[in-house]
Subunit: 330 residues, 2 copies
């Protein structure tokens, strides 16, 4: 391993001169030429750890994600990665596999690795989260879940829900089945759901059956297999595209046809929702923009600047083949 000292010796100069040369300080043309050559020959690369030890800045940003197999997560991550690269930062991804304790644990782990900042794709925000964030003393940006007193960027979940609910009403439907997730999840289980329900309940003569499931495909499929045969609903709302896909699969299995037997919609704007037949009506979230904004904000925070603490990003209803006007026959 060739070090700054070796270079210095070979060039017959002091370590500090080499250091200055490396970091763009003023050096004479002659020494520069000599150093250029030696560095090239030896293939010297600085020891990041020794640098970090002084600099207190590693140019690494850590992210904590709940799972690797989510379209939304990957879209956001890809965007974060791209933006971070532009700014000469390195991305470290840690996966919690939906384990909340691990989420907190990873905050500490990343802090130990001296990342300059952390972007947390949060599932929930517990006291342990707050304690960890306070303890590590590095900027943390929360994505997807709002939390008092922390820096967050979230989607307009209530509005998304309301849009979709209104869409269903506009199509003339009265009887609804709503697959949603537990209230523990504030963004989806509370806000998005409330938006949907508020929109539906604005009209007096609607009938809504609520089914609680979770984010997994298989669980949603099971629930759908249970519920679909007996339902009289003409419109099935699902809290995520993933759930919608599961319901669609169940419908196929049961010999039900979408949108003839019922309309179906999800949330998320996942690519697969557009490629299945019929394509699924959904709400599209600006993942790319979210990623870009996250990076811009976390870097501001790293540099000690002030930012708007709580941002909300708008989204867009995408009408597709899976939702149609209520047929008068029903």
């Amino acid at each position: 391993m060739v070090t700054i000292k070796d270079i210095a010796q070979q060039a017959g100069v002091a370590k500090s001169t080499v250091s200055r040369y490396l970091n763009g300080g003023s050096v004479s043309k002659k020494t520069k030429a000599k150093l250029d050559q030696i560095v090239n020959e030896t293939g010297y690369t600085p020891n990041t750890f020794a640098q970090s030890l002084k600099a207190k800045k590693t140019n690494m940003i850590g992210t904590i994600i709940p799972r690797l197999d989510s379209f939304a997560t990957n879209a956001i991550l890809a965007s974060i990665d791209e933006e971070l690269r532009k700014k000469q930062y390195q991305l470290i991804i840690t996966n919690t596999n939906q384990n909340i304790e691990r989420e907190v644990e990873n905050i500490y782990t990343l802090a130990k690795q001296k990342v300059d900042g952390i972007i947390l794709l949060a599932t929930v925000v517990t006291e342990a989260h707050r304690a960890a964030i306070a303890a590590v003393g590095i900027p943390v940006l929360l994505l997807g879940q709002s939390a008092e007193g922390l820096h967050t960027i979230v989607h307009q979940e209530y509005e998304a829900g309301f849009k979709m609910g209104s869409h269903a009403i506009d199509l003339g439907h009265k009887k609804f089945l709503f697959f949603t997730v537990p209230e523990e999840d504030k963004a989806v289980g509370q806000l998005r759901s409330k938006g949907v329900l508020d929109a539906l309940r604005k009209y007096p003569d609607t009938f809504i059956e609520i089914i609680e499931t979770n984010f997994s495909f298989s669980k949603a499929y099971e629930k759908a297999m249970d519920v679909l045969p007996a339902t009289s609903a003409t419109y099935v709302l699902c809290a995520t595209d993933n759930i919608a896909l599961a319901v669609m699969k169940a419908a196929h299995t049961l010999g039900l046809s979408i949108p003839n037997d019922f309309s179906l919609s999800g949330f998320g704007g996942y690519t697969v929702a557009s490629i299945v037949t019929p394509s699924i009506t959904t709400v599209k979230y600006p993942y790319k923009k979210l990623g870009a904004l996250s990076v811009a904000n976390i870097i501001e925070l790293v540099e000690g600047k002030e930012i708007v603490s709580n941002l909300e990003l708008p989204n867009e209803l995408i009408k597709r083949e899976s939702t149609v006007y209520l047929k008068s026959s029903k």
Copy 2:
């Protein structure tokens, strides 16, 4: 930031004693108790960089992946992550966005960050790759592409292709359309394809039309929209599940029905291939096992042990609704 020095001062002992205490060396019960308490109170955590500066070992493994939005990649990554965690290693993921130069670049970047080893989900292996691997002097494990003289773990691609080709033949088909990827990709474009073609060509009276596309959904969709209307094929083979999904979408758009108008198969074992209707026949690769094996091997390498340099993992044909016996009418 509380350091070992602070702890030492508070405890009235030397830094070295604290260090020994921290690293399981021999300390008296009394000092241990005192130190226990102080460390707890202060919430001390060692500075990883200072440690690494001496230790030359960071317990970090770097991975280089071509894209974040691939089912296969995510499945492998999740498995690697899980295994690594068990062994107290930290995973660093870097994304190249399908850019080959960046792949090489990232080898150097990760080396600078002093990862103990690199797992590379390779797309191709160029001279630049070999040069980089030789230069950084840390163990590199290649996944998915074989390469002379390097440590690799690959899928039995030829066999996978051959299995699928044989399946198509067994169903009585004679006319085939084969969507494949360029030969640059050795694993898929060469081996997998050759397996398919060899199986088909074993029978003299087969007719095969080959369409070259790439890994992207949209490109495959375009090609399919071009080709499907005119084809007389009764079985469409696709080099990946992603391509198969694109063909399926095109078929729907064109009003063609699978498997009535033609049978369809992919490769990869992606989840979505099982949830669409009809579900798609595919070859399932053991991603989880691949991840686990990768971790086991890279750690062996890191510890300076010898390993089997070139491993091949078997796979499994999954027959689903999209492929059926050739109807005698055609």
